[in-house]
Assembly symmetry: C2
């Protein structure tokens, strides 16, 4: 019979496996920040070895036997004798470990290797194809990759749609049946709001944000904001990289990066706040359960909720800038000394359709996501052919956003995700926005003085609230369980739409007709 | 029978194992350069996992079987059928692989783990003991570690002295019987030269080197020198760390670090040149044989010969500064504008007994090494007790250098080496100096215009000569074979002593009495 000693043995084995993932994460961080330009090829090999080893260790007989002491290895059900002897936390630990184990077990090692190699090649081809604006060049790789992903879905198993199996990798529990109506409703509101904004006489002066701003000062200001948010620099770092990201090797070492452009103030600023939200989640995980699912983040959607909550609900709020704007003016007196807070606040919240997802505003961003979701769903389900993608892309972008890419580089080739086989990833961005709004609404309910505190630069109560309600639980609860526990509600877009309506109604001076309001 | 396919299989397995060492090296580099202060504990665990895995893979049945197709696994002799079928290079590959395999195989996994843990603890205790100047605190850990190292020598096997087994780890083939007379002769000359320098009326003005020098400019100058030496920044980097070091993850990614102090110009400058020499060796290894012994450096002594050749034979030469001094003056016009080249050249070559090894000059450095060699030899052979070390240390330093530490922090506790169990490491520093002088003499013989080129800042011929004669061979030859091949001589201290006599005779204005001259 399994004992606490054998639970320790399982935990200790999981930690060892996690060290390999951590090592790979350090190598990846290094690759994006400091690695010399000439050593990309060997780094890919080193990473592949670490990942293969970690995979092989997870599906090893040793893990199977340690895990089999607690659960039925075929079904994942906790064995009857442990249903009372194990507390909820330990049951969650073995249940989630089994989830990882059984998913990994379903994928043959040779398949994992082939997919890894195929992705690695496809990514390089994509870089070239985007550079030369040549979809045809990427097409055969993309076709093969999609073949692999369908096969992966078959290995993993699914109900209704093969897309569900892929989605489940990034957002456990999410399904097409859940997302379709959720996104459809959201879309209606977003398009209505976008129309209202288009018809508004208000024209934000975004040129104040594209003056020349010293890049060192920008990064220093980002660091200041991060510190104030409660991001711990004894347990993390801020570096520069081509694309901002967060990575973690342990709660004591969770790092963020940003990028910085001389003539684009929001880029560095909001990247810092966004990644800071991710970083706080990673720093807030339990060190005690490090290496086990209870020391891991729940899903990409919940991860994104943390970054979006800080970036948008906090970082684009009036209260936040009431506190920070005078400091920003002091940092850039020439550029912003004569710009009023209201003008700045309007500029950083301006909305406008655009072609590039990563440059999109808080509102239209989700329309970009929907385009991708619908396309990847159809292509994985085989309803469209891969060579039709550019046309479908352009048509949908025109339909949703009213703009049309002039070439594939600013169209179907713009994102890296598909090139490394990440189908089912995109929806988590919008889920993150919805979770963020729900969590922030609840935080305001729980802390009547939240906005007042933010206005005074006191982010400690919000950080602690998130640590307590979200971070420290790791994967003890699923995304839907967590949201239910914290907010008492199931996932909806209400809170998010309400926030947009309020914010943009005020900024763009329109009122929402009662008929279109959502009844809570 | 083994085929070229099975040699490929062996090579490919070795590469995979090497990826784990590379990953550990990246994690160590990160630890010394950018890692947040709060994550030391987890990093130690991550490193231990990678090292244990690499060890286990090397001694695995898979490697044994792949290797056994080519060599007698008990003796390492290449099997008769392969003595003609394998070329010299392939024979060296399997022979050296067997050396690593059989050494690793002799050490039980549990012993490796215990030693690893013991070293890790001892190192932390040493840090505290040095800080508080408290040898007694470190004593029990040091005693245990020495016990472990004696046991390690027993596992590895040895003739004459257990110290030989440890020395062999760092300098394959070197023995006490070889080092004793070599060092004894060297010592006689060094002490004589030191006396002559002491009695010289010449007093270098070292205060010109301890003015205030902008640290950013110092590092930029170091980078300039590295580039000029031929160190490739597309395949390496220069960063700051508490102690300068070189690390490599592949010939395309061999990094160096330096340290920099406002009031110590030589520190950053010569660290850059020194590490640059190491870095050129690593960048000059064969990428084709990466992961196998033929893609690895020969020994610590040969490694050190590369750093010392650049640091001392090149970097402290008149020709070098003929080229670089005007540039250095341009960088620091206020501090050096009025200082003549001769005065500067004398100052960077000044000799004087001191207490701290890492701050010692080119000459007295080797006396520091001899003190350590003699002590660690006696302690490993059990001729002295560990608690006697502070007194023995102080007596020897007084005898060799004429100075006495005022406390153990500047005495027996000053070096990190023993705290991580590196007994047998120190002699390689002096071997490096001797090899460096021999190689540089040969380089001058082979290239009549070498000094002229150096005086014009053209280091390319020397770099290529070192690439060709030393770097590219990896471990195809042992240290003694390589030196014999390149210089036609066996290891002696002649070239080194000759260089010192010439340089210091000129600088300190003394001539060496003919009686003490070495007859070549």
């Amino acid at each position: 019979m399994a004992t606490s000693a054998s639970l320790d043995a399982l935990t200790s084995k999981l930690r060892e496996i996690h060290h390999l993932h951590d090592a790979a994460a350090v190598l990846s961080w290094d690759q994006e920040t400091y690695m010399p330009s000439g050593s990309g090829a060997i780094r890919a090999e080193q990473l592949a070895t670490l990942q293969t080893l970690a995979h092989n260790q997870l599906v090893s007989l040793e893990v199977e036997s340690l895990l089999g002491a607690f659960v039925d290895i075929e079904t994942g059900t906790v064995l009857p004798e442990h249903q009372s002897s194990l507390d909820d936390t330990s049951q969650a630990l073995v249940r989630e470990t089994w989830r990882d184990f059984s998913r990994a077990k379903k994928l043959p090692s040779s398949f994992v290797n082939e997919l890894e190699r195929e992705s690695s090649i496809a990514q390089q081809v994509w870089v070239e194809a985007r550079k030369t604006n040549d979809f045809q060049r990427f097409l055969p790789n993309l076709e093969r990759l999609i073949g692999f992903k369908r096969k992966e879905a078959d290995y993993l198993g699914y109900t209704d749609s093969p897309y569900n199996a892929l989605l489940d990798t990034f957002e456990p529990g999410a399904t097409v049946a859940q997302l379709r109506p959720l996104f459809a409703e959201l879309r209606t509101h977003l398009i209505r709001l976008l129309d209202q904004i288009r018809n508004s006489p208000v024209r934000p002066n975004t040129s104040i944000l594209t003056q020349s701003f010293d890049t060192t000062k920008q990064v220093d200001f980002g660091r200041l904001v991060l510190k104030q948010m409660g991001y711990n620099f004894q347990r993390g770092r801020l570096d520069l990289s081509a694309h901002p990201f967060t990575t973690s090797f342990h709660p004591t070492d969770a790092r963020v990066t940003t990028r910085v452009f001389d003539n684009d103030l929001p880029s560095c600023l909001f990247s810092c706040i966004h990644e800071g939200g991710h970083g706080l989640y990673e720093q807030g995980l339990s060190a005690r359960y490090y290496g086990t699912p209870l020391g891991e983040t729940i899903s990409l959607g919940i991860h994104e909720s943390q970054s979006r909550l800080w970036e948008n609900s906090v970082g684009r709020s009036q209260a936040f800038w009431k506190y920070f704007y005078p400091k920003l003016q002091q940092t850039f007196p020439e550029q912003l000394g004569a710009v009023q807070l209201d003008e700045f606040y309007l500029a950083i919240n301006h909305v406008g359709p655009s072609l590039i997802r990563v440059e999109a505003d808080e509102l239209t961003y989700n329309l970009h996501i929907m385009v991708r979701f619908e396309i990847e769903l159809e292509v994985i389900e085989g309803q469209v052919q891969v060579d039709e993608l550019p046309d479908i892309w352009n048509a949908k972008i025109q339909e949703y956003l009213g703009v049309t890419p002039s070439n594939d580089a600013e169209g179907v080739l713009q994102d890296v995700h598909w090139s490394f086989g990440a189908f089912g990833y995109f929806p988590t961005y919008t889920l993150g926005n919805l979770y963020a709004a729900m969590l922030f609404h609840q935080a305001k309910k729980d802390m009547a003085d939240l906005e007042q505190n933010i206005g005074q630069g006191n982010f400690q109560p919000l950080k602690i609230w998130l640590n307590d309600r979200v971070h420290r639980w790791g994967r003890q609860y699923s995304a839907s369980e967590l949201i239910q526990r914290v907010t008492g509600q199931t996932l909806t877009s209400e809170a998010f739409i309400k926030d947009l309506e309020e914010k943009y109604g005020n900024l763009y001076q329109f009122s929402t007709p009662p008929s279109s309001k959502i009844t809570p």
